[in-house]
């Protein structure tokens, strides 16, 4: 029992509720939202230290011993993701301060960002399947509001599709939970794992596993990503960055939990399917990324490619690949937030997202340009930057596991990422300038600084891999040995 485990979710809930009361006090809301995000980061840092010295931390809500009550579990994998979430939230909030219109701010913008964070963090920390569903809904309802807030025509058009696809996937989630409850009679993830192991994952359980695969693939844009490029192009840059960095990652996290903790007995069926879907995601996402001339679309398709890459690590399913995927997950949350913020800045400065109509921006905005170049290299996986170590480890895991096709597709997709993003860099920053001198508007410091902060973090993550390798190794170890998780949740009272 450790009461601290609930705090990363509790802080944003309380902060959001306070903000609802003080609707017109924008300054207060800004200060409160930063305090909340920093608070989450601090609490999570303490928890990470505790987990690395004392093992997995849990809290039994209401004092009910699992499996009868709801349990929140802070294992290393979840806590690393919560910490990264808090860091990304700080950068996106600072960007929002100088980019979100006053009208949006006064209609509960910051409160909904807090509720979104609560949903995301709750999904990472919960140890109960139905509670995961509820946290998903908290996150999704906040995202429905954030995607349609402002009510522009294009926003309404895309949010209808976004809401519909998520309602259907939530219903599917509910059905899968029903089937699993009927089959094993419990909702606690650790106990489900035990009972699935006891039944040696019979045919019906593999079917349920594939249902879960479909549900989380819809949420995380794995293969079933048709809804994503349209939806992520419409909200303001700060919101799109939060979505691109956090929402799909929750689906990825759920896939990792499902297929390392509960359904790991039939890798010949489930993990092969994951591998096929991951490969198809990388190929189709890559085609989408190089096909478009619209900056926001290219960036959205890059989210899809990264999802395929991270799930490829799960499909290979050995220690090296899982470790690599965790490194890549941390890197991708930071780099995708940065990429969306930079794309938003370019659109803000030029007034359009069409590549053919912009050019020569490096003359007026050198810092922005070189930051963009840096994130391009980082996402492609060039050695000193943060994307490198993840790609190497996933490729190494795939080769040693004999999955040559996945290794080839994963490395080939890096080239498509590099090409699609360099296309943006070349067209917008190089060439003849199309902005005349009196059209040039200065880039706000409040928009540039979060980008520089995230870029510095990406470099730091690349150079300081050894600093976090201990934590990542521990996370991968827990994922590969479900008994560690089960012992901590069910038998460590």
């Amino acid at each position: 029992m450790n009461n601290l485990v609930i705090f990363p979710m509790l802080i944003p809930v309380v902060a959001g509720l306070v903000m609802v009361v003080f609707r017109h006090k924008i300054t207060l809301q800004r200060i409160l939202s930063i305090i909340s995000a920093v608070g989450i980061a601090v609490v999570t840092a303490i928890l990470i230290h505790q987990v690395s010295t004392q093992g997995i931390q849990t809290i039994h809500l209401g004092g009910w011993v699992p499996p009868f009550g709801i349990v929140f579990v802070g294992d290393m994998f979840a806590l690393i993701l919560v910490f990264t979430t808090a860091i990304v939230a700080i950068a996106c909030l600072f960007y929002a301060f100088s980019s979100i219109s006053h009208k949006r701010e006064s209609y509960y913008f910051y409160a909904f960002v807090q509720f979104l964070l609560a949903g995301v963090i709750g999904s990472f920390l919960t140890g109960d399947l139905f509670n995961l569903f509820v946290c998903f809904e908290v996150m999704l309802l906040a995202s429905y509001v954030l995607i349609s807030l402002g009510g522009e025509r294009i926003q309404l058009r895309e949010s209808i599709k976004y809401v519909l696809i998520n309602i259907i996937s939530s219903i599917l989630f509910l059905i899968s939970i029903g089937f699993l409850y009927g089959a094993v009679g419990t909702l606690n993830m650790a106990q489900i794992s035990e009972r699935v192991a006891l039944a040696e994952q019979s045919g019906i359980l593999t079917t349920v596993a594939i249902l879960f695969l479909i549900v989380f693939a819809l949420k995380s844009a794995l293969f079933l990503f048709f809804w994503l490029p349209g939806s992520y192009a419409v909200p303001p840059a700060a919101v799109a960055a939060l979505f691109g960095a956090l929402l799909t990652k929750v689906g990825i996290y759920a896939l990792y939990r499902t297929f390392t903790l509960m359904f790991y007995h039939e890798p010949g069926i489930t993990h092969t399917l994951l591998g096929i879907m991951a490969g198809a995601t990388m190929i189709l996402g890559g085609i989408g990324a190089i096909a478009y001339q619209d900056i926001k679309r290219i960036v959205s398709y890059n989210v899809v490619i990264a999802v395929g890459f991270i799930i490829a690590g799960l499909a290979v399913f050995n220690v090296a690949a899982i470790e690599g995927a965790i490194y890549y997950l941390i890197h991708d949350m930071i780099a995708k937030a940065l990429l969306f913020l930079l794309a938003g800045s370019i659109v803000y400065l030029t007034g359009q997202a069409w590549l053919k109509n912009v050019g020569g921006m490096i003359r007026h905005y050198p810092v922005l340009g070189w930051t963009f170049f840096l994130v391009v290299l980082s996402l492609a996986g060039i050695p000193p930057l943060s994307g490198f170590i993840g790609k190497v480890l996933v490729a190494q895991g795939a080769l040693s596991g004999g999955s040559y096709v996945i290794a080839a597709v994963a490395l080939g997709s890096s080239l498509l990422v590099l090409y699609s993003l360099l296309k943006i860099f070349k067209n917008t920053f190089w060439g003849e300038t199309v902005l005349s001198d009196d059209e040039v508007i200065p880039l706000k410091k409040g928009m540039l600084l979060p980008c520089v902060f995230l870029a510095a973090l990406s470099i730091g993550l690349g150079l300081g891999v050894e600093g976090i390798s201990g934590y990542v190794t521990q996370a991968a170890e827990t994922l590969m040995n479900p008994s560690i998780y089960i012992d901590a949740v069910l038998y460590d009272n």
Partner: protein, 112 residues
């Protein structure tokens, strides 16, 4: 009893799917509502439909029905209620703003 319920939920999902793939907003929203009914019935069925008293301790019976699926459904109902209310208002607003309730006219603009 379970077989009968399975057939009913299957019918509800079939009707829901037919509604959701139509072009009209309201039909789609009704389709999602029918889906959620199907999911809730499925949850209660998967909990088992054996006879027993209502889950109230004062009933003084030996056997009770499973209380957990009922709590799950209650949670799912209110969540779905909130989402449906939001979706209906979104459809109303889009209809006023975009001037159509036909999804076919909600394609992208010309340069996409």
């Amino acid at each position: 009893m379970e077989t009968l319920m399975a057939l009913l939920t299957g019918l509800l999902f079939a009707v829901g799917t037919y509604m959701v793939i139509s072009r009209n907003f309201i039909r789609i929203i009704l389709g999602t509502a029918i889906y959620s009914h199907g999911a809730h019935l499925l949850l209660i069925t998967m909990g088992g439909l054996k006879g027993g008293a209502a889950p109230l301790l004062g009933q003084g019976n030996d056997l009770y029905v499973d209380a957990l699926p009922q709590a799950l459904i209650l949670t799912a109902i209110v969540i779905n209620f909130g989402v449906t209310a939001f979706f209906l208002v979104l459809a109303y607003r889009s209809n006023k703003e975009l001037g159509t309730d036909d999804l076919y006219h909600l394609r992208g603009n010309k340069d996409e």
